[in-house]
Amino acid sequence: MTNSRIKILKQYLWLALFVVLVRVLFRVFFGDLSGSAFWAALEGGARLAFWVIGFGVLNAFIDFKKVFRRTPKIFRTPLTALNIAFALMPEVSRSIERVRYAAKLRAHRKGLRWVQSVVVPVVSNGIDQALNLGESMEARGFGKAETSSTETPSLLLDNVSFGFEGRSNLLHNLTLKVVPGELTLITGNTGSGKSTLLKLIQAKNPGSAYVNQFPREGFLAETVFDELAFSLLQKRLPTAEVNARVTRTSERFDLGSYLKADPQTLSAGWQQRLAIAAALISDSKLLLLDEPFSALDGHGVAKLNELLNELKENGLAIVVVEHRTELLQKLANHTFVLDFGRLSMGLPKVQKLTSLPQKSATVILGDNGSGKTTFLRTIATTRGVLVPQPASDLLFLNTVLEELRQSDQDAKVKPGTTAELFTKFVNVDLENQNPRDLSQGQKLALAISIQLAKATELLMLDEPTLGFDLPSRQTLANLIGTITESGTRVLVATHDLEFANAISKDIRALETVSVTDV
C-alpha cells in the first residue's frame, strides 16, 4: 500500500511538472514574450500544479475502491458491475497470462494474428464466467424482492412439465417430494436434462439455496467475507446483522481463517465449501447442488461428503444432481434416474470406465494445486507438445475448418493432416461449427489434433478430464489408446485416479518424479 502510495504521488509530481512546463512553453511560443507575461504563465502553471498535487494526495490516501463499495441503493447496476470489475481484475490477469502461454504453445505468432489468438479466447472465457456469475447472483437474490423462506418446502415439483420454446418438452409431469434431513440424488446421462431439472426446482421454490457446477465462476467479491455477505446485502440488512451472520456462518463452515482471502485463490474444495456457505447464509432449508464433485480431488470429495452429512443432520433437505453416483451412495436416502424426461426410482447400474487393452500412457498423479501444471510446462520448454487446461484456450478462429487449416500452416505439414487426425478422433462432421459450440470432449479432441499435427514423440495433457462425465472420459481414454498405438508417447497429469488406472500401468506420484524421469 505504502509502495503504491509513493508511486501514485510520484506520478502526480511528474504530471504537475509537465503541466507547468506545457503552460510556459505555450506562452513562450504562442504568446508575447515580455518578462511579466512569462512570470504570469509560470504562476498560472504553478497554481495548476498545486491542484494536480492535491489530487495526487487525494488518490494516494483515499482508497476509492472502498468508497464505491458501499451498499448501492441508487445506481445499483453500474455500482454492482464496478465492484465485480474490482474483484475480477486479478482473475482476468491470470486468464490473460494463461491464454498468452497457450497461444505460444500453439505457434509463435507475431502482430495481429497473435493479438487475435489471445483476445478471442480471453473474451470467450470472460463471457462464460459472466454467465455463471449471473446465475449465482440470481440464486443469491440479486434483483429480486424478499424471497427468503426458512421453511422446508416438501413438495418441490407438483406435476410440472417443461420445455424450451420451439422444442418438444424436455421434462414430463414431474413430481418430487423431499423430507428435511434427507438427501435426494438425481442422476442421468449427459443431456438428459438433469441440470435443467435442478434449475426448474430452484425457480419453483424461491428462497432455496442453489450452487451450480462451477462454484469458482460464481464468485464476485474480493474477499471471502464480502462473498458471504453478498446475499444479505441484497436484502438490505443492517451492517451489524450482516457482520453477525457472516461470522456465524464462517464458523459453521470452518471458513473463519479465510475471511480476508480472495475466493479465486482458494482450492477447489474450499471454493465449493464457500459457495455452499454463501448460498445457505440466508438460512434456507433446501439446498440444491449441481454436479458438486466434478472439480474435486480425492481429499475434496471426502471433505464434501462430511459437510453434506453434517447439513443433513442439521435438518436440511438436499437435492444433488450428479453422474458419479458411487460417491454419494452412503449419503443418499433416495435415488432417482432421469431418463427421457421422466423420473424413476432406483439406482442405475454402476457404470465404470473400461480399461484399455494396452495401457501404455504415463500418468503423473497429484491433487489439485500440487504443481502438475508447472511440471508439464517445464518439460514443454525442451520437448513434446502440451495441451493446456482448459484446452479451449488454444482455439481462436471462427470455424473448426479454419482451425484445422491454420494448424496445417503452423505445423508446416501438407494440407489436411490435422483434419485427418481430427476425423480419426471424432467421427461426426463438425467442420462448419464454431469451435466454442463444441462439447468439452470435442474441444479437447480438436486441441489434441492441432498439437499432434506437429509430429511429436511426446504428447502431454494437463488435467484433461476436468468437468468430463463418464462417456466423455471413456471416449478420451480410447482416444489416448489410439494415439499410443500410433507410436506417440502420452503423458497425462491428473487427479482422476479411476481414469489413470484405465489408461496406464505407469502411474507416478508427482512428488516422486523429476522432469528428467519422463
Binding site: A87, L88, L220
Partner: protein, 194 residues
C-alpha cells in the same frame, strides 16, 4: 434495471477492459479497450454500451489512482462511444457490419479525442496566447485555434493511433467477438427459467 447476467457481463467486460488498459498504459493504453466497448455496445445495445464505457474507465481509474477533475470527461466520452455503437444500424452481412463498425471506430476515436481536448485546451494553453480560447473571438476563430492546438499538442496523432488500433482490432477479432457476444446474449436468455 438489468437482469443479473447482464450485470455480471458488464462487470467482467469492465474488468477485462481495465486490465487491458493497465497493461497497455503508456503505449496507447486506452485505445485497446475501445474495441470491446464498441463491439459490446453494438451487440447488447446503447444502454449496455454506455454503462460499459463508463464502468471500464471508472474501475481502472479507481485502481490506478486516476480520480480527478478530468475523470468526468473520460467517463462521459467513453460512455458516449459505447452508446453510439448501440445506435448503429443493425446491418445483416458480415462485410457491412465490419465496415459500419470500422467507420464508427474512426469517427468515435476522433470524437473522444476532441471531447478530452476540449477540457485540456484552456488548461494547457492558459489565457492570452494565440492558441487560447477567447470569449471575444467568433466561433469560427475559436474553432480555428482549437484545431491548431490539436495539431501542435500532438492530440491528432494520438487520436489517429487510437483509430488505427481500434479498426485493426475490429477487423481481425470483430467477427469472432461478435459471434461470441451474440452467443452470450442468446445463452443469457436461454438460461433464464421462469
Amino acid at each position: 434495471m438489468f437482469d443479473s447476467r447482464k450485470v455480471a457481463l458488464l462487470g467482467v467486460l469492465a474488468a477485462l477492459n481495465s486490465v487491458v488498459r493497465l497493461l497497455g498504459a503508456g503505449i496507447m493504453g486506452m485505445e485497446t479497450a475501445f474495441a470491446l466497448v464498441i463491439l459490446a455496445g453494438f451487440v447488447f445495445g446503447a444502454r449496455f454500451g454506455f454503462l460499459l464505457g463508463f464502468v471500464s474507465i471508472l474501475a481502472s481509474s479507481a485502481v490506478t489512482g486516476g480520480i480527478g477533475p478530468w475523470l468526468p470527461f473520460q467517463l462521459i466520452g467513453a460512455a458516449l462511444v459505447g452508446l453510439g455503437a448501440g445506435l448503429l444500424p443493425k446491418v445483416k452481412t458480415w462485410t457491412t457490419k465490419l465496415v459500419t463498425l470500422s467507420v464508427y471506430a474512426v469517427l468515435s476515436s476522433y470524437f473522444y479525442g476532441i471531447f478530452i481536448t476540449a477540457w485540456t485546451w484552456p488548461i494547457f494553453t492558459g489565457p492570452d496566447t494565440s492558441l487560447s480560447f477567447s470569449a471575444d473571438l467568433s466561433l469560427g476563430d475559436n474553432v480555428g485555434r482549437f484545431i491548431q492546438f490539436e495539431v501542435i499538442s500532438g492530440g491528432l496523432i494520438w487520436d489517429t493511433g487510437r483509430a488505427i488500433t481500434t479498426v485493426a482490432l475490429i477487423a481481425i477479432c470483430g467477427k469472432a467477438l461478435i459471434t461470441t457476444l451474440n452467443r452470450a446474449a442468446t445463452r443469457a436468455n436461454f438460461l433464464k427459467l421462469s
